[in-house]
Symmetry: C2
Subunit: 193 residues, 2 copies
DNA sequence: ATTTTTTCTTAATCCAGATTAAGTAGCATT
DNA sequence: AATGCTACTTAATCTGGATTAAGAAAAAAT
């Protein structure tokens, strides 16, 4: 079992060695080259990815062709288009590798099976989803009440490892401004060192 | 057992009569008068509310004193400050009755107990939380990519029963505009009948 | 019924951030 | 080393929605 996944699971639940090895069998290790896609709009998201190396991003392309980043997934994070995955309908999102990325993939069928075999997993994923709800609520409130510069500060707290390594346009897209405005903003208020 | 709660639970899981009556015992029926609070900023959210009659709203007051509505809860919906509830920390949100409201209240302790006694509940609440994540993702994308008038249209689809009954300022606060702008917008583009 | 409060409207002015456009710098590819 | 790409910057102009201010109308309280 991947050590990152193990730590992740153990943060919420305890599983026996037997359960862990059964669970391990449900995952398949996969890779993506930089700029390749895990999912494209219109496809059906067939499973859930747990990133072990690299970086994924999910984004929506709106009716004017602009991209809006929903989530970045560095190692230790899950990634999927949950709407497409849960309802087995065409995806609205793209999921792309921003770096060469390794991940563990579990299909919806296997995940359902895993929930049946290892009921504690329901608990783990419930808590995971609840935390995601909290995070999206915070982000929504931030988008409604904070100016761009403070949303950027919030971003830096959320993804400290990415703040330096990510192209500015990706951060701009996440916090909801244009790259042009981001550039202006950042050059008036430089990064704290 | 309240018929609304029963239908709600049965949408995702099946429970025996015994389990249902045990679960029923965990809830206490409560009421709120109009404009009274279920929760105020700084308090710790001690439990989860399932609305059976009336209407609740949760909102955040930002540093400039402006309110931002996170959620409305008409009958059949759950309401809580999940961050405060899950982490037992002071709430950022207010939860207020917009109408005289009846709800079933379950404390965190009893909910934890219910999860232990009735493991299928984990599944139900996992699915609930996942759907909430999806809803917040959609709303976030809408806020980033749609003009106010289309966010209003989305609102009308999400809460069809509330579109007519709610004060405009509440709708404005939910979609993220000022009441003044909402008024201007709505009077340029009247409601479809 | 009258006062008070809250909701809703209109209109003028203002501003954060978008748009457009042009240019620079780096980094791949050939 | 030339030809792209893509990231990033700068600056002028524009705009969706905010702010401010005032009044009208509806609802609640007395």
């Amino acid at each position: 079992m991947d050590p990152l996944l193990l730590t992740h699971l153990q943060s919420n639940i305890h599983l026996t060695d037997e359960q862990l090895s059964e669970l391990e069998g449900f995952f398949q290790p996969r890779q993506l080259k930089k700029k390749h896609y895990l999912l494209q709009e219109g496809e059906i998201n067939l499973g859930l990815a747990f990133v072990t190396e690299g970086l994924l991003r999910s984004y929506k392309v709106d009716s004017n062709g602009f991209e809006h980043v929903l989530q970045f997934a560095p190692p230790g994070w899950w990634m999927a288009d949950m709407k497409s995955l849960n309802r087995q309908e065409p995806a609205e999102l793209f999921i792309e590798a921003l770096e060469p990325t390794a991940y563990l993939f579990i299909t919806r069928q296997k995940l359902d099976l895993a929930f049946k075999e290892i009921p504690q997993l329901e608990r783990h994923f419930r808590m995971l989803a609840e935390n995601a709800v909290i995070a999206y609520q915070q982000r929504l409130i931030g988008n409604l009440s904070l100016p761009a510069i403070e949303r950027f500060a919030t971003f830096c707290r959320l993804y400290p490892t990415l703040t330096r390594s990510l192209p500015h346009k990706q951060i701009a897209s996440f916090i909801g401004v244009t790259p042009e405005f981001f550039s202006k903003m950042i050059n008036n208020t430089p990064l704290p060192d």
